[in-house]
């Protein structure tokens, strides 16, 4: 009986890996959830928003994410000032994998956070695996940004063709 309780508790408390790309729980932007999120349930998959982690506007911050099967392609890091909308591209990072798939890989990058204040903003990472049809995997982290004047706004990406 006690063993069963231990197993159940460990399942409930476990932070196992359930997605292709995930913000690292040990990093500055823990993931909202750990489910697989693909094109069909983008941008952040199903699940409630998490309590936002407080970060500081305009500062250089190290972001950390995990990739469980390293594959060729690239990562894009986006910021949304509210409601998982109006995404702004912060950085694009190429992911060149040599040879066969290797063990889980932890990536780190320094990013200058936008110079705005927001209470319910999101940092998102998209992994694109290149192929005849590109595959995309998503992970979102809930954050709040403090320290910038309230009237500061961010310039959204222009997608005009």
């Amino acid at each position: 009986m006690s063993k069963l309780i231990v197993i159940l508790c460990s399942l409930l408390l476990s932070e196992g890996l359930f997605a292709n790309v995930l913000w690292s729980s040990k990093g500055s932007t823990p993931p909202r959830h750990r489910n697989i999120t693909t094109e069909s349930d983008a941008p952040c998959g199903s699940g409630e928003k998490a309590t936002p982690v407080q970060l500081y506007s305009g500062t250089n911050t190290e972001l950390e994410w995990e990739e469980f099967i390293p594959q060729n392609g690239y990562f894009e890091i986006y910021f949304s000032p509210a409601n998982d909308e109006n995404w702004i591209l912060l950085k694009k990072i190429n992911n060149n994998v040599m040879g066969e798939s290797t063990d889980l890989k932890v990536h780190k990058v320094n990013i200058k956070l936008p110079d705005v204040s927001c209470d319910n903003c999101t940092i998102q990472i998209i992994q694109t695996v290149t192929g005849t049809v590109d595959a995309k995997y998503y992970s979102c982290a809930d954050i709040s940004l403090k320290g910038a004047p309230n009237n500061n706004t961010v310039k959204t990406e222009s997608c005009a063709n």
Binding site: L11, S14, E15, G16, L17, F18, A19, N20, I36, T38, E39, S40, A42, P43, E66, F68, I69, Q71, E76, Y78, W87, L89, K92, E100, S101, T102, D103, L104, I126, T128, V129, G131, T132, V133, D134, A135, K136, E157, C159, N161
Partner: protein, 164 residues
């Protein structure tokens, strides 16, 4: 004089190469970002205007398969897979990439649940893209499912939103 001309020609050549390099980079930067692709997809679908045949023909789609399983070898090959649609059989050539996930069985960071059928490390992902509705050469309609029929059906349904 000759020396001056030589240096000028060399400078000009380097300049031309540099210019070409710059324009190549600009072309890369013009690729649609993932979020722009989502925006463009919604914009194009709401405008629509293509005939039903653009969506209903399986030959208008390109599909691939990513397999993540602990009991397979890493491989990359082409395969022909068939689906039944409207009482006809359609066969598509698909690119298949298989990934052996067994090396993660002992990883402390990976929970056993990831290896349950359908879990992150034990699943099949079919992706189908409609190849007639493109933006900057990239397909806007891409759908995912654990079966070829499912991915194709989803992509056809999304495409149909823009039928006139």
């Amino acid at each position: 004089m000759g020396r001056f001309l030589g240096i000028s020609l060399l400078t000009l050549t380097i300049f031309v190469f540099f210019q070409n390099c710059q324009s190549f980079e600009t072309q890369q930067a013009e690729e649609l970002s993932s979020q722009c692709k989502v925006q463009m997809k919604e914009k194009v679908l709401s405008k629509g205007g293509w005939p039903k045949s653009e969506c209903s023909q399986p030959s208008h789609y390109k599909c691939n398969l990513l397999v993540y399983k602990p009991d397979i070898e890493n491989s990359h090959y082409k395969d022909t897979q068939c689906v039944d649609k409207d009482n006809s059989e359609y066969c598509l050539e698909i690119e298949v990439k298989t990934h052996d996930t067994s090396h993660l069985l002992e990883n402390q960071q990976v929970d056993d649940e990831a290896f349950i059928e359908g879990g992150a490390l034990n699943r099949m992902e079919y992706r189908c893209a409609q190849m007639g509705i493109l933006e900057k050469g990239q397909p806007l309609i891409v759908e995912v499912s654990d079966s070829l029929e499912g991915a194709l059906e989803k992509a056809i349904k999304t495409c149909s939103r823009g039928v006139k």
